[in-house]
């Protein structure tokens, strides 16, 4: 039976997973836009590489989403049990990232990567209990 608390819990976990995925995909996309950091550091030095990253709009939006995800986790932890919310959101994020990377970053998520995402997802869920 699905209760109102169940819906609330699912909603809280969904918002953590959604904002975490948006943060990861936006930062990954920013790094793709900026290019190989090793090359940039070779030309412009460490400070130049840092400036290239922190002035990138996608990077800033990604970090903003990561912060949102962190605060949704804090909010969820004040309403629900840590041993459920933390592993559930951490492990689901591996799968949602694989889906989002496939669609938004056009990464070649082959069978091998799906297996990896699912194995890590289940593994993290078991480990974090």
């Amino acid at each position: 039976m699905i209760t109102a608390e169940g819906f609330g819990l699912a909603g809280m976990i969904a918002s953590i997973v959604f904002t975490a995925t948006a943060g990861d995909v936006l930062t990954a996309s920013a790094m793709r836009q900026i290019g190989d950091l090793d090359d940039i550091r070779g030309v412009k030095g460490l400070f130049g590489a840092i400036v290239a990253v922190v002035t990138n709009l996608r990077f800033v939006s990604g970090v903003f989403c990561m912060a949102l995800s962190f605060f949704s986790l804090l909010f969820a932890l004040s309403h629900a049990d840590v041993s459920l919310v933390a592993p559930a959101s951490a492990s689901l994020t591996f799968v949602s990232n694989a889906v989002a990377a496939r669609f938004f970053l056009k990464e070649n998520v082959d069978r091998r990567r799906w297996m990896a995402a699912v194995c890590v997802c289940v593994g993290v869920a078991l480990l974090a209990r």
Binding site: D24, V25, T27, A28, M31, R32, I34, G35, D36, L37, D38, V53, L74, L77, S78, F94, N97, A98, A101, R102, L105, K106, E107, N108, V109, D110, R111, R112, R113, M115, A116, A117, V118, C119, V120, V122, G123, V124, A125, L126, L127, A128, R129
Partner: protein, 151 residues
């Protein structure tokens, strides 16, 4: 193909991501246990945590984690970097057992096994998707991935 190959230095950076992340989390955990429970209604007590050397060390390690994670993302796919560095969860579990003396149940060992298997899967495949115009990512013949509909 210039950016698609992993070399020893890049594997080293993935190892740095894994180790700084897991040691950073464990240092934070040690520091916060020294501090005692923090209530959500008294978040200002978190400021006193910044005076704890374990917490400061943990934050420094996590800054190193983020820098090396971003470096890895600049030459490898997100769906490669995330599973490849998930061994960090295993390192955290092993640190909790041998340093913090927490129990590892049978289910947790199973989790460790699954994560290790996932890392094995992903690191044997390509690390980077080339976005050439007509030709999809070139892959080694041994990759064994079927591409339905591709000539």
């Amino acid at each position: 193909m210039v950016h698609s190959t992993m070399n020893a230095r890049r594997y080293l950076i993935l190892a740095v991501v894994t180790l700084t992340g897991s040691f950073g989390d464990t240092f934070l955990s040690v520091g916060m246990k020294h501090l005692g429970p923090v209530s959500l209604s008294h978040l200002d007590s978190l400021l006193t945590a910044l005076r704890n050397p374990w917490v400061l060390g943990g934050i420094a390690l996590l800054i190193g984690f983020f820098a090396s994670y971003l470096t890895a993302l600049s030459w490898a796919d997100l769906t490669f970097v995330l599973p490849a560095t998930s061994l960090g969860y295993v390192v955290v579990a092993l640190l909790s057992k041998f340093w913090l003396h927490e129990q590892i149940s049978l289910l947790r060992w199973l989790g460790i096994l699954l994560i290790t298997a996932g890392v094995g899967f992903v690191t044997r495949g390509p690390s980077f998707t080339e976005h050439a115009k007509a030709d999809p990512a070139p892959e080694p013949v041994s990759a064994g991935v079927s591409r339905a509909g591709q000539p």
